[in-house]
Subunit: 392 residues, 2 copies
Amino acid sequence: MKFAKRADKIDSSFVREILKLASNSDIISFAGGLPNPNLFPSQAFRKASEDILSNPKMAQIALQYGESAGFYALREEIAKTYKQKDNLDIDPDLIIITTGSQQALDLIAKIFINKNDTVLLESPTYLAAIQTFQFYEPKFDTISLTETGPNINELEPKSGKLFYTIPNFQNPSGVTWNTNTRKFVADWAYKKNVIIIEDDPYGEIRFSGKRQPTLKSFNDDVILLGSFSKILAPGLRLGWIIAPNKDWFDKLILAKQASDLHSSQFTQLITWKFYKDFDSQKHIKELSNFYSKQKELLIKEIEAHIPEISLNNPEGGMFLWGELPIGYDSVELLKIAIEQRVAFVPGIPFYINDIKDNTMRLNFSNSSLQDIKDGVKRLKRSVDIYKGQNSL
Amino acid sequence: MKFAKRADKIDSSFVREILKLASNSDIISFAGGLPNPNLFPSQAFRKASEDILSNPKMAQIALQYGESAGFYALREEIAKTYKQKDNLDIDPDLIIITTGSQQALDLIAKIFINKNDTVLLESPTYLAAIQTFQFYEPKFDTISLTETGPNINELEPKSGKLFYTIPNFQNPSGVTWNTNTRKFVADWAYKKNVIIIEDDPYGEIRFSGKRQPTLKSFNDDVILLGSFSKILAPGLRLGWIIAPNKDWFDKLILAKQASDLHSSQFTQLITWKFYKDFDSQKHIKELSNFYSKQKELLIKEIEAHIPEISLNNPEGGMFLWGELPIGYDSVELLKIAIEQRVAFVPGIPFYINDIKDNTMRLNFSNSSLQDIKDGVKRLKRSVDIYKGQNSL
């Protein structure tokens, strides 16, 4: 066999195969993790792009090779935003622009994970993170997620090299950690010498409630990640890493250089120009208001029509987490749902162990209000058919 | 120590440190590997970008998540170009768009290199490739490069997992393999079960002579790489892999998903629109004509003023390779050159072993004709000072 051992073990994800079916245009999909394309600030980008490409000097910067750490003025905008939102002092010299925050996971794995190192995960967790880490052949250990964050009693005795977390509006569960859990985990990590990856692509998409402090604010060694994919547009492929110190920054830069030299300079300049010339906070607020309405409607419709699904009610993000009664199999339900032209993601792929096969992830950001109503009708029919088939 | 073993061994490259010095604006630099920013088709990109972002449907595609393999219409344009230039039938379904061809090297390494696998390299070779491979901890073995390609007699008894090659206008040496060497190496690889990486970022930048057939045309299992960085603009961060078969394609896609999900959808659409609406071949011809003049002048000036440097004369690309008399140390010369406000890259970092420390790489694409004249004057002064200091 030609493939390296690390690659040989990895196969295409089950969910991706389902998503292929769900991309059929007559299916109403609560399955994807897509932001709503109607809310992309495309006219602002149009103006930004025109401004850059009509200015010969800016155009040359946008189109030439750039720094591996990214366009400095964009890194300054990122630092500024943390100051405004979290009163967090971030040194732009420790920020690395990545090709989406997916790449951040790969770079961190590349410089930290030895074969058989333990990577701790929330259970459930973001499945593409699992896939990224798998290439570096770690062992995984999991901590159950509760409504307020990872179960502290379960976590306390554990140890590992890295703990991968999504403390705000987690994908898939929508869970946000409360402040006490943040403090506890940050202290625990410090004592146990565990590196925390704080992945935060959704934190700015908050509908209600109070913004929680970052884990980084309790523990300087936390590696904080962010992304423009959900708040602006994923097609830019831009995220960032905040390295805790120069030593880690330097290693991450070596990994970045080896991986793709640097991220698209062109989309970096457009994003910088957007932050400079437009009201990014207003945009994020509008987007949050819209997503909030979508979430409210999806909850309302499901509660009214499908009592079998019990939902949580996240204060932001893009996902709801649903639980069917014990004994229900959400993969079997999905097969019926696809026939009924509606899709969601069963919980299974988000678990490494202790799989709860009665769970499901429901995305609300990428469906119109009408589609949410119609989609829930179809989902209700699917549940009824499932119950009939299984004599429930 | 926290870092993974693979990362612990890797340090910042010596050349990057020098390039930092050379980025000072009063230094005339033959050191970089930058395309000439005055030749970026920025007005065509401006039109393409405006066309895309003013069309709501196109804008949504450009800004949303996309396929991991890349935007299909762009992959079709790439396939079409191979048909036109090389009469090569490439299946767009086997093309993967990468975040520059640097990422292609990383993805290939990720799926093929086990620790201690042998990677064969031309000597000298592209130093960022060495750095990318190093993260996967292979053993390296090298084959000396002659004027017509790798030394066949040296190659014949060797074996390995991968052979990394740049058969056209190689970075750093400018060498282009002749047809016989291509045939020989392609057959040898087939017999020895060695995977050839045919990295071809410069092949289209030909000033004179006849385009050589691809290695892939002699051996179907060759992995052929291309890039828009040198023919259009590196700031787009777009290159591609042509996978030899579906099996390898599928594994590369898994690695791509794990690495950054997909490359910038926005710059992919702009590039596709450029190929569709503009005469890309005319652009490449103009660029080649300009680079050709720069090369001719650099050769003429050095031959006229610095007889100590003997140069080759590549028929394309961006680099000349210079040799100083045996006993000269090009790193020492560089230190003087920097003081004289001129820079080049000493040969050392391009070698793994059998280092020729009297060699140098000279880039001609990124200097104006006036800068080439002035730069050679400064380089001559540097050589004179070096000779004086070393009593040569």
